[in-house]
Amino acid sequence: AQSVSQHNHHVILSEAASLELGCNYSYGGTVNLFWYVQYPGQHLQLLLKYFSGDPLVKGIKGFEAEFIKSKFSFNLRKPSVQWSDTAEYFCAVRKGSNYKLTFGKGTLLTVNP
């Protein structure tokens, strides 16, 4: 069965630090990749997505992610985090021809001012 691994359960950073959250998946075929964010008290929101083309995708709020097919990875990055980035981040994968999403367990990011 397809699985999605997020390596970090909880990441704590200071403001202005750089961020990289890992995401690996197990499916070997064509995939669509997503990062969702859930701010405290709010619902899940789409941060960015990859369907095809340039493997470096840019999302909202200065986030970007790079799809590395050979490593089955889709890591999320931000060069300088802010206190308002404190949230839980979920990586999700969908097989290319399927509508079903498989989620990772999420990474809680705490940014200290």
Partner: protein, 119 residues
């Protein structure tokens, strides 16, 4: 993007009872999904609900435990039946962004969730 609301936002229920969760979307959508997010776990798809057909359940989930209705293109309900403490979870409704449904180019939008506690 679609705006999704869920009712109730949270509830505390007794063992053996049932709870029906409502999901309302502000636009017509073909595909709606119900997920469960247990404490410390990822989101797990329970079933896919298309209007005019029976819901499709994922492995480990059955209709008798989680009956779903989809009476029209903007509304769905999920019932958690004969509840036990193991059903304590957040239940989320989501919708596919496409009007034709099922395209791999579509996104999924999520509702705010229903936090259920079973005593």
């Amino acid at each position: 993007s679609a705006v999704i609301s869920q009712k109730p936002s949270r509830d505390i229920c007794q063992r053996g009872t049932s709870l029906t969760i409502q999901c309302q979307v502000d636009s017509q959508v073909t595909m709606m999904f119900w997920y469960r997010q247990q404490p410390g776990q990822s989101l797990t798809l329970i079933a896919t609900a298309n209007q005019g057909s029976e819901a499709t359940y994922e492995s480990g989930f059955v209709i008798d435990k989680f009956p779903i209705s989809r009476p029209n293109l903007t509304f769905s309900t999920l019932t958690v039946s004969n509840m036990s403490p193991e059903d304590s979870s957040i239940y989320l409704c989501s919708v596919d962004s496409g009007t034709s449904g099922g395209s791999y180019r579509n996104e999924q939008f999520f509702g705010p969730g229903t936090r259920l506690t079973v005593l």
